[in-house]
Every structure is written in structure tokens, then in C-alpha cells.
Subunit: 361 residues, 3 copies
């Protein structure tokens, strides 16, 4: 048991500056078309649009002339013409034309953000542009692979991202917050392996010969059959969490499918310190055309995530408004969350370091 | 005439820290049953529930594990099972069980608050637990005595409690804010005795042979009859105000009731610095079964208190938002209010003292 | 091109203290009648009423006794009787009567504000009373002259007044924000003379032999006729902006009207740092009884001003909430706006100066 409150410098919480040097999901591919989409990410207003060649531009949503929102402006070909005085910018934020001063504007530049599309996800780098290496974007190609079928949903949440990550790295809440729907008693008590690899914190759990919970049994049509379960879940960075589950029929019957896989991806991006854009994806490698299964998985997932979204909203309301003395307690089962909070704390401190140095002069 | 603005250190106002070392009304008895009631008192979230033995528990409404609201959790027998990870607490806030760490939790304790029920009132002590002496709770047993009949109501108000106390200690506003309904000209000009006894500030007023105002005349059926009136009202501490009125028929008729008593209790508890939970009670020792009288007294009281609630809300809006220079003026008639404000200022300063000492090091 | 961000001390922006030593429009004449009108101006609550002799009183809307809003009180003859304890004030704010202390009150005085009515405008001076010289009020007598016909409207805006002044001193946005409705291409490119005279910043533009825009052509019935245009627009102080336009038929026909004048007055008064009371007036010296023309001018003006109001609201939202690093760029066409911002910056600094000096002691 550790006292995290006394060590909030080591363990990130809702007051820790948001990590900017990371790839975050900005939007879904279909949200960005041939018009101007405003979205606030990491407390910065961004405007998105898709260029004629299909690539995506992301600029600070504020004209450097008189602060007019570019998202309320006109998209003309691959340029934005500011709705106030008509200054024209290309997709990199470079000023192309100042109507009232045709020879000026050469040194005006709107901040642009590196964007990489890996459909259905559009990733953005809001931090130091020099470090924006697309090789750092995790591979979630199963989301668009023909051998997988995905159902998905999204929420606008009231929560800091640390609490959301902690929720996802914690399986002890299944029995209580999601009473009965997700966990099973055997699963909750099966041994959990926790590991850390660089900034990645992972959980591994295995359970042989047990009855699968409804969320697996129904779409896999394995009700009443014993299965072996393996799940690997990980905090892969500030932007999200991925869980890979493998279900194997314990005593297979000839000509019957033996192995089933489900990948659950949670990606979420702080809008502000205490609000989140959140997208979830439930992908399976079986019953690809089974619309019944898709409907079931969507509804069961949505119902469970609503419970998390509500709970995190209530917690956010408390932690952001209460001034009462408060001491947070943690248990061994919180270790994955605390490891993640150390990672986020360290990453945030690294980014704040230079500013601090300047302030100390 | 004094300049209270220049002496706000001596005279509490809406910026003075709330006094915590006092018994306040937390709720009415019937509000606390076999479920979890959240209520913010003195800027602290509290959760209440009634135990099987009928006693009441009050805990800080925040699980010390991950800040989940206990009021959104489950009441099981006399324990609260946190809705997030199932940690179980008894009615004193002691941790009984941590599902994910069965041998841990021994040193976890949620802050609990002393509660004393004197039906229909439930009292709470939010300050230093060592000083929570039930003997300090004032005796309002008339509220439940069979020889008295009470009508009552409540408001959620936008006001600091100092302004509410000052309103109650002031009778010069009757003629204006409650034009005609409560006061009479003779009453307003009858001599007022002001006294202070420790932290209690009291008003005493007597008026012989005058026509009673409607609020007395109608339920007592004394319209047109001359009466002698005596009223004793007092600020009995941060939690409220009690007024005791005795009306005596000046020239009694044989076999007719001569003396009538009305007790008016105002109890109110800061929710925040500028909002209040307010309950009022109008108790009489006559016409106990007279439903007409009860209806009349409820409606007349409610109508007058709405005027106070509105006025204090407007004042709160001004004092909390205006930055304009402002100097408050007071008159002799404000002396009871200023005496009360000195009491609250001194009580607040005593509680702040240790913290100030630390800050000054 | 200059970097205004680096020089915000010289160029007022939404963070610059509001100039108080100026005549501002408080209300329209018809708004102030025989009742109590509350209005917040320059972050100060003011209550207005018209006295029996037709003159107007303006007082701080806060009783110095216990902060009750005078605007929720009673107007009796030419006095305000506070709704809380009945203290009576005359139209200058002098205390006439304290019901609970008949011999007191002599030294109580509510702050009053100099008001001058020049129908349909009511002007107020919120600053240093000694400097409130009515001779400083600009002459807009055309608003009530029988030889002019005026249409007008008003808005409650979300904007600092600096951005509003800058909008009005800038004609380069016509083509974009008001695409097609107000400007014409020839007008936009005709030479602009900028001049400064004391605190007044003026624009002068002339264009010979061009087709008039609809907003002139329609009401003047000059569609398809060539005209000579002359416009003089000026920032006449913190309170507003006046534009005088003269349209002359280039090749007049005998017995036909040759010259047409339109005066456009914009007056606006900060309610707070980022909200404005705004009134506009469009006055013409032709077609005085032409209701069709009035309707057309009202609707066309309103449509254009809605675009400005919306744009300035979006900009206000950005500048007041974004913390992202931001550098403002300006062009030659912004010179009138920057000159005005220098004036406002200097006026504000002069007013702040004594306070700063005291603080520095
Ligand atoms: S604000 Fe964008 S061009 Fe002027
Ligand atoms: S937050 Fe209450 S048990 Fe975890
Ligand atoms: S507050 Fe105005 S008279 Fe008391």
C-alpha cells in the first residue's frame, strides 16, 4: 500500500500537465472531409480539412491577423480564406495572400500540426514538431483489415486522462462497476502478470477451463462450453489502451472453430485538462458477417462503457471541486495504474523541464 | 454609526471563513432513510444513511481509494460498498474489506462526522471532532411535543449565512421588504432591548394594548381585539435563530383563552460560502387541530420568507460580483447584527488561528 | 507590418483597462421612464430613473446600508426608497431619511453619475466626476432633426470594445465578412486617407463615377446610375464611431435630386471587459417618408451588423479562453485601428497612472 497523495509528483493525477509529445487520435477518417472541422485538443483549437489529394491538414484555428476562427472561414481548393479579411493560407499554414497588402504576408505562418492518417484513425502530434516521428504510431491495422470485423462508438467525457487510463488498467472494478456484465468471479481472481517495457505498462491474465462471460459466449456461440482465456492489455502511451483477448475452446469438437480473437482498442485525447474525446473499437476475427453478433457486441460494450464514463465524470466532479483534505490510498491491485501514472508524470516533467529552468533564472 | 467596511476583520461578512466548530442542521429526519443521501455542507460533500438500529451515519462522500462518490454506491446492511472497486466501509468510515486485497485496508478510514438526531432535526458537527459535545445542541423539543403544532418549509438559498443572520436579527426591514404583512407601525417603533450573553445575541420587544397583525390575529381569532405582545429573538450560534412570541389578550373575557405562544425557528447551514440550506418552523401552542390556521400560517410565512430569500439572493449577487469601491454604513438599529457579526468573526478567527500561525513561519 | 503582440502596452487589446473618463451612451431616451432601470456599464451596476421634471438620475445600484439593489426598490416621486429597510435617497444619491434612525444618514451618499440627455441618446460619465464636461459630448443632432430620417437597432455583444472599434475603422473586411453586401471592388481599392487629430482617428475615401452598391442604389433609386462617393468615418473616442457619406450623381438630370447624405452612427458601451451594449443609427437626408426605403435600410444594415456581431463574438471567445502562444500580425491597412488602439492604450494608462504610483510606493 502506498500513499499516492503524498507522492503526486511521482504519480500523475488530474493536475499534472498534459503530455504533448505523443501521437493522439484527433478524429475518425470520415469526420474530416472537404470542409473545415474545428476540434480542441490538448487545450488548443485546431481546424482540420482534407486536401484534394486526400491528405489532411491541421492548423491552429486562429488567424494570426485578428484572431478570427479559421474554422468559420472558407475552404477554397486546398487553402483557407479567412472569413474576416480574406487572408489566404495553404494547408501548412503558410500565408499565400493578403488582400489588403498584396506584397506582404511572406513571414506569416500559422502553426500547423503533423497529421498521419491510418484509417479509420487520424493521428496528430501536438508537441515539439521535431519529434513527430510517424514510426511511433502504434499499428492498429486490424481496424481496417478484411479478416476482422469492428464495432465502435465514441463519447465526450468529463475526466482527466489519467483517471481513464487507470480505469482501463484496472480489472478489479469489473465486479462492482459492471456488476456481472463483464467479469466473472474466476477471472477476477486468476493471477495477473504486470510488466513494464519502456513507457508501456502491460497486464497478462490467463484462465483455463472456465465458462465464458456472456460478452464472449453469445457472439462466439459458446454458451455452456468451457474455454481457455488469455488476455493481454496495455497502456501503450498517453493516447490509449489496447486489449487483446484469445479464447480457445477447452475441449474442441472436430470441424468446429477452436480459437477466437477479440481486440479492444480505447483511444482518447484530452480536449482540456478535464474533458476527453474518447473512441472505442471492438474487433473480432470471427462471425464477420454475423450482424446479430455485431449488434450484441456494440450494445454490451456501449452499456459497460457508459458506466465507466459516468463513474469517471462523478470522480472528476469531486477531484476538481473539493478543497477538503484528502489522502489517496492504493493497493497492490493498483500497481499497473501507479506504474502508468509514473510514466505520465515523468513524461510531463520532461516536457516542463526547460520552462521551469527559464522560470528559475 | 460605524463603518463596517473598514472593520470587516471585526464584523464577519461573506468573505469570512465559515465557522466549523458548531452544530448545524444537516437534514430533516425523514430525509435520511435506508438509502444514501448526498449533501454538501460547509463546502464538504457528506453522505448520510440510517443504520438498521435507527441511528445515522455521516461520512465524507469520497472513497479514499479513487475518489468515487460513496453516495453513488451500495448500502448493504450497515455498510457502504463502494460502487467502483467494492471497498466496504462501516458507518464510522472504517474500512472492513478490500476485495482486491483481502488482508489490507486496516489503516483506511473515511472521515466521519458526529451526528445527533433530535427529530425532526438531524444535527452535524463538521469541525474539530474533539469538541463535538451534544450538550451544546440547543433544545428545540417543542418541535416534536404533542402540545405544540408546527408548520414548516425549506429553501435552497443564494446567500452567505452572515447576511441571513443579519436579516433575522433586524426587524426594521419588516415595514419595507414585507410591507404590511408582518410588522405593524406600533411594533416597529416599540423599544427594543438588545443583549449579548456569550455568543448569543438577543432581542426583546414588548408592546402593550395594540391590534395584532394578521399573522397573529387570524389564527388566534383575535381580529379587532387589543393584545399585549412580547417577543424574544436570538442568534443562538452560527446554525440559526429562534424567536419566541407571547400574545396576551389585554382585556380577557371569562372562559376565553388568554395567552398564545408562537415559536419561530430558523435553521440554516452553509452549503458553500454563498449558498445555504434553510429550514423554518412555525410552532404554536393553540388551535393544534385547526387545519385552517395551519394552512394560513404556512402560506403567510412562506410568502414572507420568499421575500427574504429573494432579497438575500440579489444582495449575494451584488457582493460576490462587484468590484466597485464600496463602503458599508450602519445605524444603531444594526447593532444586533453587528454584535452577531463580531461573534462570527471571532469564532472564525479562532479556528483559522493555527493555520495562520503556520503560514507566518 | 508590425508585431502588435510584442507591443500590447502601446496598442490596447481586450486586457487593457476600460477607459472611464469619457462620455458613453447609457441608454436610449425611451428606455428611461418613471421606473427604475438597472444597467451594468463599465463593470459598475447603475440604476436609472427619470425625474418628474424630465431629467435623468443615475446612481450606483447598491444601497450603502446592506447592498440591496436600488433597482429592486421603490421610486417615490423623485426619490428611491430602498426595498430592504426603506432608506430614502434623492436623485443625486443623497440620503434623505433613515426610518430606523431619523436623525442619522446625513453623511451617507450613493455615488451618482453625470448624465446628459441628447435625445434619443442618454450619455453618462463613469469616470472622475470633475472632468465630466458636457461640452465634450459629440453633436449627433441629426438623429432628432426633422430634415433627417433615422432607422436604428441594437445588440448585446460578446466583445471587448477595442475589437469593435477596430472592426469599424477597417473597411478591408467588407469584401469577406460582408461578401458583396456592403462594399464594391472599386471602393475597396480606392485610396484611403488616414488622419489623426488629438484622440480622433479618421478615414476619408473618395471615388468618382462608379456604380453605387445596393445599400445606396436602392433607397436613392439610383440603380444603374454613375455616382461620386465621399465617405468620412471616425473614431471619435471610446464611445463610438461616426461615418458620414455623401453620394452625388455624376451626371445629373435636370429637376432631379443630385446629392444624398447618409450618416451612420455606432455607439457602444462596455458592460464588462468582454461584453458590450451596442446601438446603431442609419440616418438619411432623402426619402424621409419613404417607408420602403426605411425598411430596406433597416434590414440591410441589420443583416450586415449581425455578421460583425457574430464575428466579434467568435474572436472574443478565442482571445479570452486560449492559452496557446499567439503572435498578432498587422498590415498597412490596419493602421487606423492601430492608431485608435494607441489612443485607447494611452487613455487607459493615464487613468491607471495614479493607482500605479501608489502601488509602487
Ligand atoms: S482576422 Fe483573418 S484575415 Fe483578418
Ligand atoms: S474508488 Fe472506492 S473502492 Fe476504488
Ligand atoms: S439595504 Fe437599503 S436600507 Fe438597508
Amino acid at each position: 500500500m502506498s500513499n499516492a497523495a503524498a507522492s503526486h509528483r511521482q504519480h500523475a493525477d488530474h493536475t499534472t500537465p498534459l503530455v504533448r509529445n505523443a501521437w493522439y487520435v484527433a478524429a475518425l477518417s470520415h469526420e474530416i472531409e472537404r470542409n473545415l472541422l474545428p476540434r480542441t485538443l490538448l487545450e488548443t483549437r485546431v481546424v482540420f480539412f482534407r486536401k484534394k489529394d486526400g491528405s489532411i491538414s491541421a492548423l491552429h484555428d486562429r488567424c494570426p491577423h485578428r484572431s478570427f476562427p479559421l474554422s468559420k472561414s472558407q475552404l477554397q481548393d486546398d487553402t483557407i480564406v479567412c472569413g474576416y479579411h480574406g487572408i489566404t493560407y495553404d494547408g501548412t499554414g503558410r500565408c499565400l495572400h493578403v488582400p489588403s497588402a498584396p506584397n506582404a504576408g511572406g513571414n506569416i505562418k500559422i502553426r500547423n500540426f503533423a497529421v498521419v492518417e491510418r484509417a479509420p484513425l487520424v493521428w496528430i502530434w501536438m508537441g515539439d514538431a521535431e519529434q513527430a516521428d510517424p514510426a511511433l504510431i502504434p499499428d492498429f491495422s486490424f481496424l481496417s483489415a478484411p479478416t476482422w470485423k469492428t464495432v465502435s462508438g465514441s463519447f465526450h467525457m468529463h475526466s482527466n486522462y489519467v483517471a481513464m487510463h487507470e480505469n482501463l488498467l484496472d480489472q478489479t472494478h469489473f465486479t462492482f462497476l459492471h456488476a456481472g456484465s463483464v467479469g466473472t468471479p474466476e477471472w477476477a481472481t486468476s493471477p495477473l502478470e504486470v510488466s513494464q517495457n519502456g513507457d508501456t505498462v502491460s497486464l497478462r491474465r490467463e484462465l483455463k477451463k472456465s465458462l465464458p462471460p456472456g460478452i464472449y459466449a453469445v457472439p462466439m456461440k459458446l454458451e455452456g462450453r468451457m474455454v481457455d482465456r488469455l488476455s493481454e492489455a496495455s497502456f501503450f502511451g498517453p493516447a490509449g489502451h489496447l486489449a487483446l483477448a484469445k479464447i480457445t475452446v477447452s475441449e474442441p469438437i472436430a470441424n468446429e472453430r477452436e480459437e477466437f480473437r477479440v481486440n479492444i482498442l480505447h483511444v482518447f485525447t484530452p480536449e482540456t485538462q478535464n474533458t476527453l474525446h474518447y473512441w472505442w473499437f471492438n474487433s473480432r476475427d470471427f462471425g464477420l458477417d454475423d450482424e446479430e453478433a455485431s449488434k450484441f457486441l456494440y450494445e454490451a460494450s456501449h452499456a459497460a462503457y457508459v458506466e465507466d464514463v459516468d463513474a469517471l465524470g462523478w470522480i472528476s466532479d469531486i477531484v476538481t471541486t473539493e478543497s477538503e483534505d484528502y489522502r489517496e490510498f492504493s493497493f497492490r491491485s493498483d500497481r499497473p495504474g501507479l506504474m502508468m501514472r509514473q510514466v505520465l508524470s515523468r513524461l510531463a516533467a520532461q516536457e516542463q523541464a526547460p520552462a521551469t529552468a527559464v522560470a528559475a533564472e
